[in-house]
């Protein structure tokens, strides 16, 4: 059903783009955070389209779940003043828009002109197993490092968020 997948693609693309734009354009940070979740969900949908179901699940759990909640918390904790004007542009926004647009054009032109060389092959039926193999086999080292990384981030986040005052 190529047409169906195309339809889904366009639909998801529209959601992703629209909500991403909402994230950056809205003036209320809470709204932005909510649209961010929507974007993540849209991306997860894309993953399903691309036969990466496990990844989609991770996306939903980690991003749409954990990260988004973290962000909302942060928003709440750092709230001050009028929430409706909590997410404004800085003075650079025009330049930022120009640069972003230029970068987009560059990326599209460069990738659009590519003749990609594909290595033909059949996707493994359930890719969870394949991913697990990869994590524990070929990518064992990054896997371990990722673990250390998370530990570091956790320790760091606690240290930093707690601040140094209590020891004084």
């Amino acid at each position: 059903m190529p047409d169906m997948s195309a339809l889904f693609f366009w639909l998801l693309a529209a959601i992703i783009i629209a909500s991403a734009l909402a994230v950056v354009l809205l003036k209320n940070i809470v709204h932005s955070a909510l649209y961010l979740v929507l974007t993540f969900v849209g991306v997860a949908g894309l993953y399903i389209l691309l036969n990466a179901e496990f990844l989609a699940a991770v996306q939903l759990l980690v991003y749409a779940g954990a990260v988004a909640i973290l962000i909302v918390f942060a928003v709440m904790l750092t709230r001050r003043g009028d929430i409706r004007a909590s997410n404004l542009f800085n003075v650079n926004y025009l330049a930022a828009a120009v640069v972003s647009l230029a970068l987009f054009i560059v990326i599209t032109l460069a990738t659009g002109r590519m003749a990609w060389t594909a290595t033909p092959g059949q996707a493994p039926a359930g890719n969870v197993g394949a991913i697990a193999d990869a994590f524990l086999g070929h990518f064992a080292i990054p896997f371990e490092i990722a673990a250390v990384l998370l530990l570091v981030a956790m320790v760091g986040a606690i240290l930093l968020a707690r601040g140094g005052k209590q020891d004084q």
Partner: protein
């Protein structure tokens, strides 16, 4: 027919929207959100490459999972710092952070 280039264009667009957010928003949390969008865009790329170019392996997906992990770690540290700064200055606007300059 949706091709690889469609996904790449979508990824590129998302990346640039995220970039715009990261560059143009005053609120540090919003900047972090922009960065998350950029990382998601990369993930779209990675998964799309994986899917279209070498479906037999899962390198792209694994890569994407690692990116998600790193992104989570970054967000954690970043937000902790934002909180730290907010507590100190009652302000989470990045463009006020200019004690260190020149």
């Amino acid at each position: 027919m949706i091709t690889l280039n469609h996904y790449l264009a979508l990824g590129g667009l998302l990346f640039c929207i995220g970039l715009f957010g990261a560059l143009a928003k005053r609120n540090a949390v919003a900047v972090l959100m922009g960065i998350e969008l950029m990382l998601n865009a990369v993930n779209i790329n990675l998964v799309a490459f994986n899917h279209f170019l070498e479906p037999a392996r899962v390198t792209g997906q694994v890569f994407a999972i690692f990116v998600i992990v790193v992104a989570a770690a970054e967000v954690a540290v970043g937000l902790a710092l934002v909180l730290n700064i907010y507590r100190r200055r009652l302000d989470s606007n990045v463009d006020d952070l200019d004690w260190l300059r020149w």
